[in-house]
Symmetry: C2
Subunit: 263 residues, 2 copies
């Protein structure tokens, strides 16, 4: 079996020295990798372990480390592996930054741009909502931006960072290899369990996942890490530690792989 595990958090550059980062260590992913070797034995030929520098990397002979930086490079790495080689399972546990930096400006420069465009307009606004739409456009099209290819000055009075969503990388997997077994992850914060499971199940259906690990920040602290491994039929197994989550994921992936290859 060839497996891809994505691990840890990703970072998005603000400028040459500053970045937006996710608080994810790669500990759970490293448990998953070790568990594949423990349960799968010699059946496991290769584990591609995709992570950024600083993530926890387990020492395993079959592990091939793929170092990325930022969501875009994770997408490129997945695409490259999935395009050239048959992959039997993908465990996408990486906490990919949902947002990257679109641009950086200051409150003063943004206001100048908005005022200039409002002032230059010949006709009146029909109502407040029309003015709000116009101002939204001004904000989104703001071109008075700071050059982020250098270290940005440390003396700006009121900096503003405009963010945009990164592409959902999980979609790449089944697009390129519909037959691979895909495990997605959904992390929410302080929601009722039903809502957590519903959201996780929506993610599962949208991305054709075979399993989704649903977890909630309020149930993660110290050694405790509650997770619900959800199947397409909405059945789930509840786990209480990272190690238990890893064991349950691997058991289910290997089980499904065995069932399919018997046919």
């Amino acid at each position: 079996m060839n497996i891809i595990i994505t691990a840890g958090g990703t970072t998005e550059q603000i400028d040459q020295v500053r970045k937006i980062a996710n608080a994810a260590s790669g500990r759970l992913a490293s448990c998953v990798a070790r568990e594949f070797v423990r349960q799968g034995g010699t059946k496991i030929e290769k584990i591609y372990y995709v992570c950024e520098r600083g993530a926890i990397v387990p020492e395993l002979d079959c592990l091939e480390l793929v170092t990325t930086r930022g969501a875009e490079s994770v997408g490129a790495a997945l695409q490259s592996i999935l395009a050239r080689e048959k992959i039997d399972a993908v465990v996408h546990s990486m906490a990919v930054s949902d947002y990257t930096v679109e641009s950086m400006t200051t409150a003063e420069d943004l206001a100048d741009g908005i005022a200039r465009r409002i002032w230059a307009r010949s006709e009146d606004f029909s109502d407040e909502a029309a003015l709000a739409d116009f101002v939204t456009d001004c904000i989104l099209q703001n071109d008075r931006v700071i050059d982020r290819s250098y270290k940005v000055s440390s003396n700006l009075a009121h900096p503003l960072l405009a963010l945009r969503q990164t592409p959902k990388l999980i979609r790449i997997v089944k697009d390129l290899q519909p037959e691979t077994i895909l495990v997605g992850f959904k992390l929410l914060d302080g929601v009722p369990r039903e809502e957590l499971l519903d959201t996780a199940h929506a993610l599962l259906r949208k991305n054709a996942c075979d399993f989704v690990l649903a977890n909630d920040l309020t149930e993660i602290s110290g050694e405790r890490h509650t997770g619900y491994l959800l199947a397409p039929d909405r059945r789930y197994e509840r786990c209480e530690t990272k190690q238990e989550i890893a064991e349950t994921i691997v058991k289910n992936v290997l089980g499904l792989y065995g069932k399919r290859n018997k046919k």
Copy 2:
């Protein structure tokens, strides 16, 4: 001698899982700590090593680790140590984030707030500049902000982060202990050497530093780390690696300490 070394980068929380971080490993600071022990021997009683989790920490018997999170907690740690104990030298090499997150909003919500306030105004604006000032106030006083005490939704179309400057922590040092030997750091990016030295010297005077290590990102890569250790009389020593920088800082700090204690 009792010494404080601040090391690595700092992080500022955006929400429960996201943060702004600086790309600093603590490698230089760990060289400085080891060099103090090598050159100072038993004269070095204690090194307070102030850093965030993840920074490189050298293994030294005299080292007392002080773990911080965010610029504010670094300030609190420095204040606490300097208030209770005589400190002979402070090497402030930590890359403290210049900015923290003031608030998070979306382009649409910010625009709504601006439009509402413009629409509600009874009098006309005298000119474009007056309108720009008004819009700046709207941006700075925006109260349609996202609750960041949870994990913020990953589905916002156009998030905006408003940043504000963190306090300059280096000022705390001589305010509390004017007699301590203080080494500051100045990192710029792609400026002529004269400008780098001028800026570093301005920092030195402003904060009553005894030395400032001036360096430029364009002269840091791989093993190479060019640094200029600048004294109040503008003389400087040039170094080419982190180890050389550490040796030069420690040599000069111990030299100044010896000279003062002979009197």
